[in-house]
């Protein structure tokens, strides 16, 4: 099902520089996808993905009710989950930082250092984790 070109595409579409993305990603994934029986597993999950959109209202209700501090770091050139899906988090969450990064679906590949820095700053300054630093 998942030919290696398609697996590779998930890593490379929308990136600034393809040379920054290690082939280790898709070679590793493909090896595991090509195991006998894995194709059927992935098809079942593609099928069951239909269970998710009907739950979106419940998740959004959770955001509104519990207001977890939220950091959104979204590869804005992703066409699987487009940036239009990042913006509405701001409707439901008050304590939110949103960063639309100039990269693709697997944003950690190209922007991992930046994302690590943003996580570190966000969690240590805006969140209860600060109590750990103070201790």
């Amino acid at each position: 099902m998942e030919r290696i070109e398609a697996t590779r595409w998930q890593y490379t579409h929308g990136v600034k520089n393809e040379n920054a993305i290690s082939p280790d990603n898709w070679v590793h994934d493909q090896l595991l996808l090509d195991r006998p029986g894995n194709n059927e597993i992935q098809l079942q999950l593609f099928y069951d993905y239909k269970s998710n959109p009907p739950l979106y209202p419940q998740w959004q209700e959770y955001f509104r009710k519990y207001q977890p501090p939220t950091l959104v770091v979204w590869g804005r050139n992703d066409i699987i989950f487009t940036k239009e899906g990042a913006i509405p988090y701001q409707r439901d969450l008050k304590n939110i930082q949103l960063h639309l990064l100039n990269t693709g679906h697997f944003a950690l590949e190209e922007e991992g250092e930046l994302i690590a820095e943003l996580i570190s700053r966000f969690l240590l300054t805006r969140h209860k984790a600060a109590r750990w630093i103070e201790a």
């Binding site: 398609a6 994934d29 098809l43 999950l45 593609f46 959109p53 998740w59 989950f81 690590a116």
Partner: protein, 160 residues
Amino acid sequence: MTKIKNQTITVDGQTIFYREAGDKENAPTILLLHGFPTSSHMFRNVIPALADKFHLVAPDYPGFGYSSMPPVDKFEYTFDHLAEIVDKFITQIGLERYSLYVMDYGAPIGYRLAIKHPEKVESLIVQNGNAYDEGLGEFWEPLKAYWNESKLLDGSIHME
């Protein structure tokens, strides 16, 4: 060099592989939930980058990475079930509170956990993890058609 522990634990009879680093006792925990078609492998660089300040835990779901891959007639591959396995995994390794990093498949799994245990979730880190209709663009049209089929098709979906 940061030490990353590569471990396994048995959850509901399935071997769950996970990568772990950082100070479990004193540092805040980040639970990293991976996307398709990868595994905790996608976090191999971000884990050491954060391990001096945080405790990081990244499990592979059944069917992915180095976790068990029972066949479809022996294991129900649904998001409900994967979330149930991750929930039990969290209990077994003793995580009481954590921030959730959700990416791709990690979002439907992580948000199921958050709804079940809102008190455990300290914060969210959302990386291309969808919770709004607006995020499902044209890419999803063939999959939506697939969802409307009365039975599973065999092998006709390509992720392009």
